[in-house]
Homo-oligomer: 430 residues x 2
């Protein structure tokens, strides 16, 4: 970065960037690139949910969804979840409006009551309990295990998935590591998709790990493809079955980013043994999920084909936003190499890497100029990015026009931070 | 019971009852008096929920309920919950479809993270943790505290509420008692309503109890009156405020038995300090409740007046069912005094007391003749009724015709069990 430039040239560049920054301050923008939320046009795609029941509240088996019962969700919704997650319907629970809640409850139950009964409870183990966190990753995953007292261990993710050599070595060396958080397709925030080899190695991971190790496979973006010819994620449950490790994986998904954010249906999938212990725990705290909303979803989405058709409509809205973000990054930063970024083929985020130690500075500069970014570090356990390089960009919620006004601020902030670092220390990288 | 009868007379009576029992066996009934569920006509009263949005998803403050956000529920729903529970809107959380889940999460958080922060966590206390359970009571309450390892202590409930002398003595003598489960109005299953004096003594209870004692005030039947001139429950939060104990009570309610069972909106209410700690816990596991369903409810119910009008329509359906149950009990058992029962003025249950040691026998006889009753003991912690006398009767779900066919079986079973006990031991009471 700024390779081969003289100090005078970098001084001139810094002045130019600072002048543009001053002009941006004047403009008084108030834009937001933080929110991993669908845009207004996206949620409107599912307004049909409200007409779809038409006064018919009966399931195929005669159940009236307006009354109590059905702890594991309606059979129709479990079938839909099975299609989405690539498992059998009897391996699926259809839950309430939040897959995050199912994840919390799964981890809580494994810790408190045991993933397979009382004698397997994680909290009964002698040593300190640990959980592997792929970074950069999803802060809400990390916070669940943090809140229950787990020590969090970072492992880097890259193209094709995480560093499996390191993961295998870690779990083999420490039986206190009870599990790992994964977003296997369009990983939040990098957009990486796990390769077939990585999925296969995950399926065999429990053989090396301590007792009752669990892979939490949050397939949040299973169908959230931007391209017509999307990457295909290998089926982890099939591979676990083949490896005899089907108790080691628990899958999650929801329709929050298919129909309505925070008002959809969630799914958890696991082996029958896992599911039986988990359902017993759920039965202590609820009589069952909202079956009316599950029926709405099944009638509206119909099946995996219906979901795919809806997701093509989402893609038509979202893809131009990702493309616009990328164009600004390439035009503004590509030539000088002032940062790198991922090019996801789906999901809700892309991930930007500043030179070491600059992410929080870039975020602060952009904030001054009226563009809110996800706080630097937010994609790491406890909010601490050891290299201070990662910035998560969420293109879905703002309009194209808002992106077109926000990205020049981001690009200028990234370049300005780099130029100032160069002038301070004679280099940008550490 | 059978007072003054000769042995011959009771033998004759037993034969008559046994003959009727044989005839009932022949009839091959399959009826169910176990389910504390609204009947089909009741849930149909709220079918308007599905038309009420009419494509308008905006709150008064402009929020789009189809997208993420709003951990404590929409302001409109919090206001409705505040009216129902007699508290301020800022003291209310509007949650998902299950108040039982809010109760579980409240107790879990108090145990795990502390009701008012880390240093108040119940699990850090040295002695064994205990919880008071009013009996007969609601098994799902008891199971929550049982599942978290609490020792459960029974206290009897009667007309006007529980035995407050005993409760005050217990909490004063044992700081390990962390709380008490209450259903203050139309208590499940007896239908008792707490008197003003009992509410006042609850408001002062924390002064005698150990640290961070909590009264879990499940006002599940706050508006579920059968009469036009219903009993009025004193406002516990107002009285706690006056006594300076507002941190000691947490209130719960839901619309499950107002609109749709298992597809309504739940509420928790507590002091701002309690609520802040609880909300922090909820924020680990969800981005928020289903706001679309909350908005449906607010538009459909409007306010407390709208709720009351709807509840009059429920009462018109439910009251004849309670009356029919009572008529059968009075006609069949009243003259001989073969049992006693409560006469609730609201709620979902009535409670029947057999002579000591006969409840499970009555339930077994009725089951043989095709009438399913809630298992004897189900209204006690761990399913153990020390006197084996209590049977819960749920009149709401079966039709009038079904009640009219089921109750003679129940009545006959109660009398037959008593006659056989008299013949075995020369007396019915122990």
């Amino acid at each position: 970065m700024f390779d081969g430039l003289t100090r005078e040239a970098v001084v001139a560049r810094e002045r130019e960037l600072a002048a543009r920054f001053e002009a941006q301050l004047e403009a008084g923008l108030a834009l937001d690139l933080t929110r991993g939320k669908p845009g207004p046009e996206q949620v409107a795609l599912s307004d049909g949910l409200d007409d779809v029941l038409g006064g018919d509240y009966r399931l195929d088996d005669g159940t009236d969804v307006r009354n109590y019962g059905g702890l594991t969700g309606i059979p129709e919704a479990r079938r839909l979840g099975a299609e989405l997650l690539g498992v059998r319907p009897d391996e699926v629970i259809a839950g309430g409006n939040s897959s995050l809640t199912l994840m919390y409850e799964y981890v809580l139950n494994a810790w408190l009551n045991g993933p397979l009964g009382e004698e397997t409870a994680w909290r009964r183990e002698p040593g300190p309990l640990k959980f592997l966190c792929l970074v950069p990753g999803y802060d809400r995953h990390f916070r669940i295990t943090e809140s229950l007292g787990f020590e969090l261990v970072n492992v880097r993710i890259g193209d094709g998935g995480p560093d499996m050599d390191r993961i295998e070595a870690l779990v083999a060396g420490d039986p206190g590591i009870k599990g790992i958080w994964c977003v296997p397709k369009y990983s939040n925030p990098t957009g990486h998709v796990y390769s077939d080899e990585v999925v296969e190695r995950f399926a065999r991971l429990a053989r090396r790990a301590g007792p009752h190790f669990r892979i939490l496979w949050d397939n949040a973006y299973a169908v959230h493809d931007l391209d017509d010819d999307p990457p295909v994620l290998a089926n982890v449950m099939d591979r676990c079955r083949a490896a005899g490790t089907e108790d080691s994986v628990v899958l999650f998904a929801s329709t929050s980013k298919i129909t309505r954010a925070g008002a959809g249906v969630s799914f958890a999938a696991a082996s029958p043994a896992n599911l039986a212990a988990f359902t017993k725990h759920l039965g202590v705290q609820t009589i069952g999920p909202d079956k009316v909303n599950q029926l709405r979803h099944v009638r509206f989405l119909r099946d995996a084909g219906g979901v795919r058709a809806l997701m093509r409509r989402h893609a038509a809205i979202v893809r131009p936003k990702f493309e616009l973000v990328r164009r600004h990054l390439e035009d503004g930063l590509g030539a000088e190499g002032l940062g790198s970024w991922t090019n996801p083929r789906g999901g809700y985020f892309l991930s930007f890497e500043t030179p070491p130690g600059l992410a929080s500075r870039v975020v602060a500069l952009a904030a001054k100029a009226g563009v809110k970014l996800t706080p630097a570090g937010a994609t790491f356990p406890c909010g601490r990015d050891p290299d201070d390089t990662n910035i998560r960009i969420a293109p879905t919620y703002p309009s194209l026009d808002e992106i077109d006004r926000a990205m020049p601020v981001f690009v200028n902030a990234a370049a300005l931070a780099a130029a100032r670092r160069w002038l301070e220390s004679g280099t940008v990288s550490v």
